[in-house]
Symmetry: C2
Subunit: 349 residues, 2 copies
């Protein structure tokens, strides 16, 4: 298989974890006889420094022309007071790619169970996916304005926008434990009332998949009290932002969790859920979230299940030997941990 992958290393630990991701991709290329064209482009703070724009036209064009986009992390205090901010590039990229479905699997590894802030009996049953609407809602609706005296944001959803993300969640649930939890604030918001109505309609088309509705405030509690109840969660953009971050804490380390964002057509975007961690010492970042993002890309964009499973298996095998980066209480560096994963990959095939 031959594929064009745009690599957006971004800022902070971004370039280090991207390097680890590329090493895994090269190893897969060699072991399974594929050809991955990895094209580096500037994005985020790095692109602001070079061009004064977090998403330069050249980067965007490359992403649009690719088979998949791999992103590491953007942002940092350096750009907090800059006229252009790295996050703006991320929002613009999401919108330009039309990646409406952000998918974040949340699981707890044996190796990190002890790091979860939750008691082990609560944390160990965690195995769900958050499906977040990513290109609509209050992030992208107008009017938005601010004066010295007043500021306004608008939260709009169309039936079509709700329908396609909820359909996505139901299709995903069909491959899993067949339960969808839709999260809204239908006792207050008009947009949530539409959300709930459309979700009920979609559910009629998916017999055999259970649907429950939860209010966002109740969901924020259940996420901690009873996370084992969830299979597929689907929610709008801002609630998804809050709840998927809350969920990520259950795993004990943000450094473990990948994400994928899919469009109706065109390239998907894959990225670790962690940020750019600008304060971390060099070569200390956990590359697992990036490796898992690579695995999601192989699986979901290219249909390469064996390759994706091999990566996950290699990560598991290394963790089992007790080797880990410092966020997990281990002594490995980004590069030494990556070395072990590559060795495992070679040994397996």
């Amino acid at each position: 298989m031959e594929k064009q992958i745009v690599c957006l290393a971004g800022d902070g630990i971004g370039p280090e974890v991207m390097a680890a991701g590329k090493r895994v991709l090269h190893m897969i290329e060699r072991l399974y006889q594929h050809k991955f064209h990895l094209q580096d482009e500037l994005f985020g703070g790095a692109a602001i420094d070079a061009y004064g724009n977090p998403l330069p036209a050249r980067t965007l064009a490359a992403c649009l022309a690719s088979d998949a986009v791999l992103l590491a992390a953007v942002g940092g205090p350096r750009w907090d007071t800059a006229p252009e901010r790295p996050e703006k590039g991320l929002l613009a990229l999401r919108k330009a790619l039309g990646v409406y479905a952000n998918v974040r699997p949340v699981t707890v590894d044996e190796a990190t169970l002890h790091l979860s802030p939750l008691k082990e009996e609560c944390a160990k049953n965690v195995d769900f996916v958050v499906v977040r609407e990513l290109t609509g809602g209050i992030y992208f609706s107008y009017p938005k304005h601010r004066t010295n005296e007043q500021a306004t944001d608008t939260l709009t959803y169309s039936r079509r926008e709700v329908e396609r993300i909820v359909e996505y969640a139901f299709r995903l649930a069909a491959t899993r434990r067949k339960k969808v939890t839709s999260i809204d604030k239908a006792n207050v918001l008009e947009s949530s009332k539409l959300w709930r109505e459309v979700t009920e309609e979609v559910a009629l088309r998916y017999q055999g998949i259970a649907l429950e509705h939860l209010l966002v405030d109740a969901a924020a509690m259940e996420m901690i009290k009873n996370p084992g109840r969830f299979d597929v969660i689907v929610t709008e953009n801002l609630f998804g932002d809050i709840l998927s971050d809350e969920a990520s804490v259950l795993s004990g380390s943000l450094g473990m969790l990948p994400s994928a964002s899919h469009a109706e057509q065109g390239p998907s975007l894959y990225e670790p859920i962690h940020g750019s961690a600008p304060d971390l010492e060099a070569d200390r970042a956990n590359p697992i979230a990036m490796m898992r993002s690579v695995a999601m890309m192989l699986q979901q964009s290219f249909g390469l299940s064996a390759e994706a499973n091999a990566i996950e298996q290699a990560i598991q095998n290394v963790l089992k030997t007790g080797k880990a980066t410092s966020d997990l209480g281990g002594k490995e560096t980004t590069s030494s941990f990556t070395n072990y994963v590559l060795q495992e990959l070679e040994a397996q095939v």
Copy 2:
């Protein structure tokens, strides 16, 4: 002291915990020679059943004319498909009273530490207050509309609305550990940019109080990973709804936590944070949250610190003997637990 208190028992376990609250008030009246006129009014589902309106004019008039309002709980599945919903009454009451400052102390009792979903070392340092803006934001801004194809909500804040709630938080922090954490989504929302700007300005007037800003997604993580870092949290209406519910889980039982909502002038509203728990068997509800709401009322509306402290001390003393309701793993009923608290109150004074 002579005071007029409107009691809104509401639905589900509401009447039971209200009865416990009244018994405490009567005991305080007797022990400290006060006169509390307790006036019952219909509210929520109970008022829908009687008048087709969750906040009848008579109830509202009584609340507006009172010295303080004590509310137990509203809602239940019976009214989920009714044309009028109990929550509408709650929102209308908040707006009519102008109670812009919702105050929720979150602490973990020794007696419930083992019930927290968090590991003990995380849960035991929890001692913060969430100050939530309660009469503005997306709950109350216009336009709001919905067609079959599209729905819109509006999120507006004025400088004045932000200023008064942030001022409230700073004044509260001055009486505590002198730290304010303001939570927003300033990297995306215009209203949050105004929020952050105004918060910075208010902070200049409160030297000696530390201010930090957190994004709402990061806050949802920190609430679980590191709740000990918080002293006073201040945030807008919807973020406050989500985060204060998330926070309440830390304590191990929703049945323990009270809240107060204050206006610029006029009566404050006091209520347990728990809901109406329509499925609970009779006489099983934990009355502690209601007793603490009564204590907050005595303290914050009437300045009766000794009386408020006596209630808290009595609750603590009973818990220390191991007596507890079923939510805490105990065998006491609402009424038997209340009996013990009343005995302790009498014994103390």
